[in-house]
Amino acid sequence: GESVGLHLPTLSVQEGDNSIINCAYSNSASDYFIWYKQESGKGPQFIIDIRSNMDKRQGQRVTVLLNKTVKHLSLQIAATQPGDSAVYFCAENLDSNYQLIWGAGTKLIIKP
């Protein structure tokens, strides 16, 4: 079936630098995308979402970019902090579908 996947399983970033986490999706009919952060021993935490009628959305220190032409989603984290260490998941959803389809995740490691 269609699925969401991630390019890099692990990303190491220097503290203070910007982080970019990428995600590819294969279902061109998906119209809603979400990024979640999961810390060890905890459930996924909502970060930011974007609908397919947008190509960019900004939150606090985070920006999500959506490129529907190449079916690519990215999460940018500005001024990465130690507390950003976690596994990041992208997920997609069809408007008529109540389930989220998740990728495998990218582990973000912050170097001091």
Binding site: V4, Y32, I34, Y36, G41, K42, G43, P44, Q45, F46, D49, R51, F89, A91, N93, L94, D95, S96, N97, Y98, Q99, L100, I101, W102, G103, A104, G105
Partner: protein
């Protein structure tokens, strides 16, 4: 404001046994979804409950069943446990509508021996 709460946090069962996991949604949410997360993988959708009925179901066998109560809390039941059922079981709540962000609990870690 309490978020999504799940119980128990950890559970050990033997093959063939049955298990019930519980979830209380975030205040103001009426929809509950259950996901299974294997180690190192993304969550897999089990099913979603709304108005006390199963609204949608993922690719899981009938051994997995659920219930939603009038107060919107929910249970996940798994019968005839298999070793492969060992995973983190996540409950998520949301308000009505398919594109409402899910809010997750910290999950129940189930180990089947």
């Amino acid at each position: 404001d309490a978020g999504v709460t799940q119980s128990p946090t950890h559970l050990i069962k033997t093959r063939g046994q049955q298990v019930t996991l519980r979830c209380s949604p975030k205040s103001g949410h009426d929809t509950v979804s259950w996901y299974q997360q294997a180690l190192g993988q993304g969550p897999q959708f089990i099913f979603q409950y709304y108005e006390e009925e199963e609204r949608q179901r993922g690719n899981f066998p009938d051994r997995f069943s659920g219930h939603q109560f009038p107060n919107y809390s929910s249970e996940l039941n798994v019968n005839a446990l298999l070793l492969g059922d060992s995973a983190l079981y996540l409950c998520a709540s949301s308000s009505r509508g398919p594109n409402s962000p899910l809010h997750f609990g910290n999950g129940t870690r189930l180990t089947v021996t």
